[in-house]
């Protein structure tokens, strides 16, 4: 819903910026003497446009300003618009430091030479696991990202619903299916489901694939190295098809917010979501009642090893003229203290730094920490683990088509494969 509204906002902002630039040309000399030169300021491109994260980040940057007597100038752009404009943004005049995601989505820009390498900073970093380092590295093995927080995906449910009806947390896929069937009989929509925005259902695909075929297959499939007509991929869709009758009907017409609301209203029993998603749709009183379990095991060879936990972080633009100041800011953002300030204000994510205190965490966050720290592998998310054009142009459509017609797996996978070939051959 937001993007097109924000489109207006942006154009207006661009207009204002243009006017400001004109005015600035007149006022510039006086301004320069007033704030003592540009070396004293760092600009941050922020996609944290929602109220809660925006305020939380503002506090972090305030803390940095106090600590370093540098000025931090934050340039906030609507989240989706920032994502869609990232190419132009990096190519034009990016801010010194900007927010972005780990994994393939970052590597893509590292390969294009848009990001400044920060391997030297990483040598001094403390408290980051090897998995995190891998997700912060480009394909050349050099580091580009300072990870900040992550939010694991899992199956969410309401404790009271489970207690009242005597449901038990399923460990295996068979138990999961049996539970779904029981919920169905009890008059609930077993799995709340909304894929109107195109991406939420990707989480379910990722988990089915990682549980059935393992993390390595998932990553190489996303990297374009496996064929989508492979029986293993068809099996994933097959498993999903078996679950479809228990998914809330009309998924393509429902936003994830509406799906989460149906979970909050006890109209549906479970939902595959990321940590920040369901909580936002629950009232304060109900939030205590929210709980989750890891996506159930399908093949015992892979168990519940992999966890989907997208990482957000900060990058330094190669074009930035304030590399030194940018790096100083990144160094600060990598400290546990900087993460703690943020998470105190926005308790919907968890810190990446082992050193960050968990004392302010709520029960759900603590559980999420356990989930992530026990994971053998961490995946990002379909649209972060593969080329952005493949995810947005092929997979969103393919999954929506699957939701409409779950029985036509053969032609669907053939369709994906032939498009994948063109897109991955392009570069």
């Amino acid at each position: 819903m937001a993007p097109s509204l924000s489109g207006h906002r942006i154009s207006r902002r661009a207009l204002l910026r243009g006017t400001a630039a004109g005015a600035g040309a007149v006022a510039l000399p006086t301004l320069l003497t007033a704030c003592g030169g540009p070396g004293n300021e760092v600009k941050i491109g922020s996609n944290a446009s929602d109220a809660v994260p925006r305020k939380a980040f503002a506090e972090v940057f305030n803390a940095y300003e106090k600590k370093s007597d540098k000025k931090v100038k934050v340039n906030t752009v609507n989240h989706e618009a920032f994502q869609e404009g990232i190419n132009r943004y990096l190519k034009g005049t990016p801010d010194d430091v900007f927010m972005w995601f780990a994994g393939y989505r970052m590597q893509f820009f590292a390969e294009q030479g848009q990001l400044a390498e920060i391997s030297d900073l990483w040598k001094g970093f403390d408290g980051f696991s090897d998995a995190l380092k891998a997700q912060s590295s480009g394909k050349d093995g050099k580091q580009y990202l300072v990870p900040y927080y992550y939010y694991p995906w899992a199956v969410f449910y309401r404790k009271s619903v489970f207690a009242q009806r005597g449901y038990e947390v399923p460990k295996t896929f068979d138990e999961f299916r049996a539970l779904a069937k029981r919920m169905d009989k009890d008059g609930l929509d077993a799995i709340a489901f909304g894929d109107k925005d195109g991406w939420p259902a990707m989480g379910t695909f990722d988990y089915l694939n990682m549980r059935a075929n393992g993390y390595d297959f998932h990553i190489s499939l996303m990297g374009g190295k496996e064929s989508w007509t492979d029986p293993r991929v068809k099996n994933v869709f097959d498993l999903w098809r078996g679950l479809m009758p228990y998914h809330q009907k009309g998924g393509n017409g429902r936003t994830w917010q509406e799906a989460a609301q149906s979970l909050a209203q006890k109209k549906s029993g479970m939902a595959v979501f990321g940590l920040p998603h369901p909580g936002q749709q629950f009232s304060d009183a109900d939030r205590e009642d929210l709980d989750f379990f890891a996506f159930p095991e399908i093949d015992s060879a892979y168990g519940q090893d992999a966890v989907e936990a997208p990482i957000d972080g900060f990058l330094l633009a190669k074009k930035s003229k304030r590399q030194k100041e940018g790096k100083e800011l990144l160094k600060y953002l990598a400290t546990p203290a900087a993460e703690e300030i943020y998470l105190k204000r926005d308790p919907n994510n968890i810190a990446v730094n082992d050193g960050a205190s968990t004392s302010s965490y709520n029960a759900l966050q603590k559980k999420a920490v356990d989930l992530v720290s026990n994971a053998k592998q961490i995946s990002q998310f379909m649209d972060r683990d593969t080329r952005p054009d493949f995810a947005s142009q092929v997979m969103i459509r393919a999954i929506q088509q699957f939701i409409n017609k779950p029985n036509d797996i053969d032609s669907l996978t053939k369709d994906i494969e032939s498009q994948k070939k063109t897109i991955f051959a392009a570069n």
Binding site: P3, S4, K196, Q393
Partner: protein, 304 residues
């Protein structure tokens, strides 16, 4: 006085421009032409050029010939639904919404009671942008929380107005027509006011029925308005974008060429060459419509 004399002198004499006149004309015509070249023809030609390349917006530009078009026609599933939807849009606005707008205009022009009230009510949606109409459509058509399903009170098996790809395009067309009808109505209303009443009287004296009068006398005099309405209808249909983008980013049954262009060029995908190829297709389709229409109208105009 000397000014008038000068003017007269000029009018009488042979038509010749002084160098000052030429400079003024040069500047006044030159600047718009330059702007037109730079802002309209430049990008248009650039799009055509880029459509034969493979470019991600950052790296090198590679020449790939007609590969983009081949992929587009054979291996890009959203393309044909988008073409179909665009044509459907033209047909629906042209054959349903526009005639309906004309009908309303005629009824209002006859001076029904409360005609001012109807006029402003029907015109109201025109002031809204289509994106806003898209949001309103969601409030009405949403499956779980929409007003329409609440009225139908079909709780067990609610109709998924916007999620069902067979159905949602019609709902969106209805919403778009809601706005388009008002627009057309106001244009025709203005046109009808300017029709000389003596024409109608003459027709009535000659014994023409009301329908005959309308189709044989009134409508032909409305020719200039017809041209404008026709062009507007086609343009509105082909540039339709914001309403489907607001609803579901133009996916799952709501594909449109304009959305595919945006998705490929502006979105994170950044397939600029490929997106340009779609834009060229859209350009060709629009040129086809507009040129045929204008040629026909102009020819007809001359004959009449």
């Amino acid at each position: 006085m000397p000014l008038i004399n000068a003017r007269r002198a000029k009018r009488r004499g042979p038509r010749r421009f002084t160098s000052r006149d030429l400079a003024v004309i040069g500047v006044l015509l030159g600047i718009p032409i330059l702007l037109d070249l730079a802002l309209i023809w430049g990008p248009t030609l650039a799009s055509i050029g880029l459509s034969f390349t493979n470019w991600d917006g950052i790296g090198d530009i590679q020449w790939v010939g007609i590969d983009n078009y081949k992929t587009l026609f054979t291996d890009y599933p959203p393309f044909w639904p988008a073409v179909r939807n665009n044509l459907l849009w033209v047909a629906f606005l042209g054959c349903v919404a526009t005639p309906f707008g004309l009908l309303l205009a005629v009824l209002l022009d006859k001076g029904v009671r409360f005609s001012r009230f109807y006029q402003s009510t029907l015109y109201m949606p025109v002031v809204l942008s289509l994106a806003i109409v898209g949001f309103i459509a969601q409030l009405i058509f949403s499956r779980d929380q929409g007003a329409l399903n609440a009225i139908l009170a079909n709780k067990d098996n609610p109709v998924d107005w916007l999620g069902d790809p067979e159905l949602n395009i019609w709902m969106v067309l209805l919403a778009a027509a809601w706005r388009h009808t008002g627009y057309v109505m106001i244009l025709y209303l203005a046109g009808l006011k300017s029709v000389d009443p003596s024409l109608k009287e003459a027709a009535a004296i000659d014994g023409a029925s009301e329908t005959q009068t309308f189709f044989r006398v009134v409508l032909p005099t409305l020719r200039p308005v017809n041209v404008i309405v026709g062009v507007i209808t086609v343009i509105e249909a082909l540039r339709a974008f914001d309403i489907v983008y607001a609803i579901n980013h133009g996916r799952n049954g709501l594909e449109l060429l304009s959305v595919l262009v945006t998705d490929n060029i502006i979105g994170e995908a950044s397939r600029i060459g490929f997106g340009s190829a779609i834009a060229v297709v859209l350009l060709t389709v629009s040129m086809g419509f507009i040129v045929t229409y204008l040629v026909q109208e102009l020819r007809g105009g001359k004959k009449g």
